[in-house]
Amino acid sequence: MDWLNAVVQGLLLGGLYALFATGLSLMFGVMRVVNLAHGDLAVVASFLAVAIISGTGLPLWFVLCVTTPLFALLGYLTQRVLLQRSLSAGPMSTLVVTFGLSIVIQNVLLEVFSADTRTLDGGSFATGSFEISGQLSIPYLSLATFVLAVVVLVAIQLFLSRTGLGRMLRASSDDPDTATLVGADSRHVYGIATAIAFATVALAGVMMAMRSSFDPATGPSRLLFAFEAVVIGGLGSLWGTLLGGMVLGLTQSIGAQIDPALTILGGHLVFLVVLAFRPQGLLPGRTA
């Protein structure tokens, strides 16, 4: 029976969800912005990876090294040009702006790449695995993704706790007004938070492209995964997000084992159960 495999696979998948959800959590924590285009940005990264790799044959690590900083820059600009304006235009405004962005991205992707479903061919790396025992084998890709996710989460955690700018991000999250009084340029701080969010989205988007198929309309379901990981784990805590991601991955993986059609529904239902009985999440950080 493949139950053990399903559990291990699900936990490893959780790492990817956590990596992907971190950006959503960070943008909400620092700016109180829920980026509804979060999933669509990951799909953009997926398409970009497919376009680069199939067009030029460059290796995966190179694609990651290009898209991540590119997205970081894009994030910084998006914040400074679009989101900053909407932050001052009222509370509903950011939601409408990011939702609009989501609709625009989806339909531009549709016009450019058509509605065809795609996957990124990661070669032998994406399909290979090593066997632990007769029953348990771990795919290279899942393990590498998990390790990458944990490394990135640790790096973000260190940035937030050890650097001056990181502290300013946390200070702004607590009290934006006072943060400017001790010298934080809120626009820059917000720009950095968005840049980190976009960079992690790019990483996650490329890794997701190798795991599962996608099309221009895949963004919203990816967004919901990220949102569920954040809420299940508890707002405002990176390790909570990792735990939330793993719970979600595990549920989806076990759901798929029972009936493939249950994959996504299973995740949603766990989210609703957490919402009903433990709305603060499993590992709540600060009270947001």
């Binding site: 939601l95 996504i264 529904l265 989210f271």
Partner: protein, 348 residues
């Protein structure tokens, strides 16, 4: 007589409080006329025109319901498609049980409201922006669950067959009138709610939630009422959607695209104005017709206009218009007139 009584009575003599400005009495007549013209339209124009107007009416109803929640209740939802789907499937089920499909539409509204009770219990645990995305998850759950019910046609959906006995021309006209009634009703319901006690509470909550609860407004209760009413309205819209398209499938009816329509129509038209969704729906409808031959470009244009409006014209086009001209088709505020007016004064 105490000083304060003297002051109030002299103030009362100097100022009269009315709910309708003169412009709105005039516009009331115009609206009635417009409704009458729209009602006789099936007798004078081709069915293709009335058929596309049905879609406009559905959009007006959906957008009005979204506006009621967001503009007056402060509840920004991205999951109202849940009730659209529940409404459509309810009509399907009632029709299969032998209820006339048109008659089943009010029942669909009721069903949607019933489903909204436990849903609100979950969704209201999330605040602000998280509420928005949480409602979306819940709508997805409804979609996935519906797709698993074989008697509802599963993932590929099902057709409504009980209306096939009616002559297509008559059916088209009936559907048109039902859709028109839906649009008029949803606007009227918004208007009546906002003039009621509930409406006053809502506007107080929207303006300052903490203060509103401090003066004794039961904030969660007011919000829940709005949520239930909006669910009912969207349920009825879903019912009309079924009788006009005659088939339903989960992916289409529970699509988040409906939320995109509602949100952008309201934002472009003007959040928090009853007139906003009307204006926005007409603009959206025009855009859709004009760009009909260019695939999904109308959605891109819609998204860009929506984003631009949210940033630069947060009160929407009607807000812009109302600021400049002080026009109000649906007076829900109070107007102060200086000078003695016996007729209105006696109403106090």
């Amino acid at each position: 007589m105490t000083i304060s009584e003297t002051l109030t009575s002299s103030a009362r003599a100097a100022v009269t409080v009315r709910r309708s400005a003169r412009s709105s009495r005039l516009s009331g007549g115009l609206l009635l006329l417009a409704a009458l013209v729209l009602a006789v339209l099936p007798f004078v124009v081709f069915a293709s025109i009335t058929d596309s107007l049905v879609n406009l009416f559905i959009l007006i109803a959906l957008a009005s319901m979204w506006n009621l929640m967001a503009g007056f209740g402060g509840l920004v939802s991205v999951g109202q498609q849940a009730y659209l789907g529940i409404g459509a499937y309810s009509v399907l089920v009632f029709a299969e049980q032998g209820v006339q499909a048109y008659v089943a539409i009010p029942l669909a509204a009721l069903t949607a409201a019933v489903f909204a009770v436990p849903t609100s219990w979950l969704a209201f645990r999330l605040r602000g922006d998280y509420f928005a995305i949480g409602t979306w998850v819940i709508a997805e759950v409804y979609r996935l669950v519906t797709a698993r019910v074989d008697s509802l046609g599963g993932a590929s959906g099902k057709s409504l067959t009980t209306l096939s006995g009616i002559d297509p021309v008559v059916r088209g006209a009936l559907t048109y009138w039902v859709a028109l009634a839906l649009a008029l009703m949803s606007v009227l319901v918004c208007y009546l709610i906002l003039r009621s006690r509930l409406g006053l509470s809502l506007m107080a909550v929207r303006d300052e939630e903490t203060a509103a609860s401090a003066v004794g407004i039961d904030v969660p209760r007011a919000k829940r009422w709005v949520y239930l009413i909006s669910a009912a309205g969207c349920g009825a819209a879903g019912g009309v959607l079924l009788v006009t398209s005659l088939s339903v499938n989960p992916d289409a009816v529970y699509s988040v695209q409906w939320s995109a329509y509602m949100i952008f129509i309201v934002v472009i038209g003007g959040v928090g104005y009853i007139e906003g969704p009307l204006l926005g729906a007409v603009i959206f409808f025009g855009l859709q017709q004009a760009l009909a031959d260019y695939g999904s470009w109308y959605l891109i244009v819609l998204g860009v206009i929506g984003v631009a409006t949210a940033i630069w014209v947060p009160r929407g086009l009607w807000g812009l218009l109302a600021e400049r001209t002080r026009i109000s088709l649906f007076p829900i505020g109070y107007h102060l007139d200086r000078g003695v007016d016996d007729r209105a004064g006696r109403r106090e």
